[in-house]
Amino acid sequence: MKMLRRPFFWIIALVVAAFVVSPLIGNDVQLRESLALAAVYITLASNLNLMLGYAGYINFGSIVFFGLGGYICVWLVDSNHWPLAASLLAAGIGVSALSLVFGFGILRLRGPFFALSTIGIVEGVQAFVENFKPWGGSSGIYISPEVFKPLGGPGPALWLIYFLFVAVMAASLYLSYGIKISKFGLGLLAIGQNEDAAAILGVPTPRYKALCYSASAFLPAIAGGLYFFKGAFIQPSDAFDLTLSTEAIVICMLGGQGTVTGVALGAYLYEELRGYLLISSTFSNFQLVIAGALLLVIVLFFPSGLMGFVYSRFPRLQKVLE
């Protein structure tokens, strides 16, 4: 694989290794939990970046992948007693397949209209799930603690789940990197620059957009499955809360949409900021206000985000980082 020869491949590997190793040192559960959250953010933002940064389509409702994945996984584990691994995989495949179908439809809409329809999809799916009795309707599903037994009990289970989070994060980073250096990625970038010109150049735009949308659903769905399995509870208002997808957008823009490094960096910075805000009593209510203000400043003054700024000062870095 030519990716192996590129330094960036190993940079990602290093970051992943840091995620794996650091909480193990001294059995630091608090660090583990905060890194787990960072991993979720990085997963969501990297996959969102495929649509936003590469193809130039804003998906306001990326939470729907996370939430639906969560529901499928939790339901399979709880009501059907599937093992975790199979449930996660089913969640990923199921949500991707659904997205492919939906994608062909809504991706016929151009930029802003597509963006609006993604919000509607979340609200539609939420309304559906709230009325869907097999999934607990608006009360949701509780998982019995029994499910943690095959994983060795709650303690070890949490560690396993953490490593799975890191694996999903790693997969997301490698996926967005791999796509970026592939022919598929080149086509997506062309679509993002000028969709009409790309089509005239021969880029099969409908197929590529739908594939991108579907690909951007797979890993977030698995992450959702892990997240809600871990919490042992899922309900519509949590599963389809637009806050998380909004934060993913802020992270992408903050770090530099279209870059792989930027997204990871942005996720880390945002999580730090958020952590600080949540602790401070003045700001805890203002989480979205801060996110919104941050996004506004970025869009107005730094549209290429952090990495855009860095690459403009140090262009040679772009050869090494993505």
């Binding site: 804003i58 930029g111 309304a127 559906f128 506004l296």
Partner: protein
């Protein structure tokens, strides 16, 4: 049988107000290709202004209309300068993100101050009773006011210098500038008008239904549906689209639980857009 017709007629009355809201959205879109994602929140702002002015200051509900109209106008001008001005000339997705971010800030502030409290403004007006059905007076008055304001907007756009200048800018911004029209000022005015319309329609909706800070999303979606039915950039179409939506709602709501109405409207939104990418009656570049 008459029940359904009554429901439909009532829907049309409310639909006129939706049409007015959509006019605000479509005006901004038509003039500068910007989709204002603060639209729903501006509607809620109008509702809150109605509530605060009438309950706190004891102003009679319908007399809040002029201050809300004027206040909304200036808020819109502010919105232009903060979020839209720098986005002119950039890809349209950027203006989407900038208005989206302002919306986040506003909703965040709103929920921080008022939470998810439910507000209700009491408007007692004699209704119109035909057979066994009463059409609430508030609905009739709201529809009438919406129609009047829409009419005034039409007169403004077609019979005043400023209005014609707006239409010129909508049609071809470069050409308008070459002819000496101060386009930046007009873009700001367009946003001002758009937000004013959103605020006033919010005030009118506030006289009809209870609301929370988060109600904006639902009405924003309705505005989008109406705009799509009536054509982006087409105010007259927006009014007709509003009537059509009201008609649809009136016909459907007796049979369907309320939580599904929005879902149905969303599906309609997507399907219509797929079939008619510019809206059903789209006239691009024309107001």
């Amino acid at each position: 049988m008459f029940g359904i017709i009554a429901s439909i007629i009532d829907g049309v009355l409310v639909g006129l107000v939706y049409g007015l809201a959509a006019m605000g959205l479509t005006l901004i879109w038509g003039v500068m290709d910007v989709i204002n994602l603060t639209h729903g929140t501006m509607i809620v702002a109008g509702m809150m202004a109605l509530y605060l002015l009438s309950s706190a200051l004891g102003v009679s509900p319908y007399f809040t209309l002029p201050p809300i109209l004027i206040g909304g106008f200036f808020v819109g001008i502010g919105l232009y300068w903060i979020a839209v001005h720098r986005m002119m000339g950039r890809p349209p997705l950027m203006s989407l993100l900038s208005t989206f971010s302002v919306n986040l800030v506003l909703v965040g502030l709103g929920t921080a101050v008022w939470g998810t409290a439910l507000f209700n403004v009491d408007v007692s007006l004699p209704g119109l009773t035909i057979e066994r059905y009463t059409f609430p007076g508030a609905h009739i008055l709201a529809a009438a006011l919406a129609a009047v304001i829409a009419g005034l907007l039409y007169l403004f756009l077609h019979y005043t210098r400023l209005g014609k200048a707006l239409r010129a800018v909508a049609n071809n911004r470069e050409a308008a500038e070459l002819v000496g029209i101060p386009t930046t000022r007009l873009l700001a005015i367009a946003v001002g008008c758009g937000v004013a319309l959103a605020g006033v329609s919010g005030m009118l909706i506030g006289t009809l239904f209870p609301f929370t800070i988060l109600s904006g999303d639902g009405y924003q979606l309705k505005s989008f549906v109406v705009t799509v039915l009536g054509g982006f950039g087409n105010p007259v179409g927006a009014l007709m689209g509003g009537v059509a939506l009201g008609l649809l709602e009136g016909a459907v709501t007796p049979f369907v639980p309320v939580s599904w109405t929005l879902v149905i409207e969303f599906v309609l939104f997507v399907l219509v857009l797929i079939a008619f990418p510019g809206g059903v009656f789209a006239r691009r570049g024309a107001l």
